[in-house]
Symmetry: none
Subunit: 222 residues, 2 copies
């Protein structure tokens, strides 16, 4: 189990590290927010312990940044105040649990164990068809063994196609599931996006997966 601690007070950080290593965790320490973010993005941790109050950046911001990078590692937020207001803010920012300072070390251990029990990693949904695959957790898309880079809308459209493999989907249906209410989208926009997907997914391959069913819509097939 690998743990990252982001905490500016050196003494506290060091004592946590010692205690956790005693429990056979592998511990890294970052003393500033930026450093912490670098570690979190660069290495793979099983849990991140994040202080709410940091010199440069707010812990909440770090938390948001980590989530924005699609990293779903469980985050435990440490905070000096115990107001529920703070708690809600932290949870909304993407933290998984929340501990008020000062705390008993045993309490921390218990929370860490609870976070580890959480089945977050098993939740990845893998959608696939033939040699095309899409991971809704990591946003990775592959055709064959080649990684494909998609934009947000392209991804959403492909996900919708993959969730309805044996159906022919009309442009209207696609619009109503991939776009929201206030988006007023022309059918042609769907055609354009299908074109983009074809360029990225079908262009370099012999078997074309995205099929046009003239008069009805589109479907995955081949």
């Amino acid at each position: 189990m690998r743990i990252l601690i982001v905490e500016d007070e050196h003494k506290i950080a060091a004592s946590l590290k010692r205690g956790l290593e005693q429990e056979s965790y592998a511990v890294d320490i970052a003393h500033t927010g930026n450093e912490g973010l670098d570690f979190a993005l660069g290495e793979e941790y099983d849990i991140i312990i994040l202080d709410r109050m940091l010199p440069e950046i707010d812990g909440i911001e770090i938390c948001k940044s980590i989530r924005a990078e699609k990293i779903h590692t469980p985050i435990l937020l440490l905070t000096a105040k115990g107001q529920t207001h703070d708690k809600v803010e932290g949870l909304n920012a993407g933290a998984d649990d929340y501990l008020v300072k000062p705390f008993a070390f045993e309490e921390l251990l218990a929370r860490l164990r609870a976070l580890q029990r959480r089945p977050t990693k098993t939740l990845a949904t893998l959608l696939s068809f033939k040699d095309l695959s899409l991971n809704t957790l990591t946003f990775e898309v592959k055709r064959g063994n080649k990684q494909v880079q998609l934009s947000g809308k392209e991804f959403a459209l492909l996900e919708f196609l993959l969730r309805h493999i044996d159906q022919t989907l009309t442009k209207e249906k696609i619009i109503s599931h991939v776009w929201n209410y206030e988006a007023d989208i022309l059918p042609n926009t769907v055609e354009v996006y299908i074109g983009y997907l074809r360029n990225k997914i079908d262009k370099d391959f012999d078997t074309k997966l995205i099929q046009t069913v003239r008069g009805f819509g589109y479907k995955l097939g081949g």
Copy 2:
């Protein structure tokens, strides 16, 4: 994937929307129960997130109303209290899952993914007569075990015939149902399309399914 959020607290709703859009969901927001019900009945959603406590109507009531309209979209109920009593009530009303506020955003994501993994109830869409079948969801048409490729109008005409199996349909009736009102269509056009259908459906088979009732119209029979 399209999500409806019914939540009266604007801040929470907005922050959820932002977070979910980051995850490539298409999100609509309703701030009152009535508005939420309108959205749920009028649009197609893949998931509905429903706050338990709403100003006008109780979330539970919205939930019941949605189910009463035969809409089987997965519903996730948000509630401030964590009493099991509430939980049971929510699930009885037709909710599929249940989350206590405040919650970690990651937790919400996990629940949503779980709800999406459920097999969606697809309503029966198969029209058939003898060994002829038509699927309105996939737009597939089969005669015997042979797939038949129809154009849009041909499909619409055959669907109309299949929905009125015992009736003899006049050309006028066919025109007014298969074409739209302002379309000014000659009766001969129907004859032409009946011909197209016969070529694709009856030509290679001994028993002819499309019958002419001279002076009155056409019907499926044989």
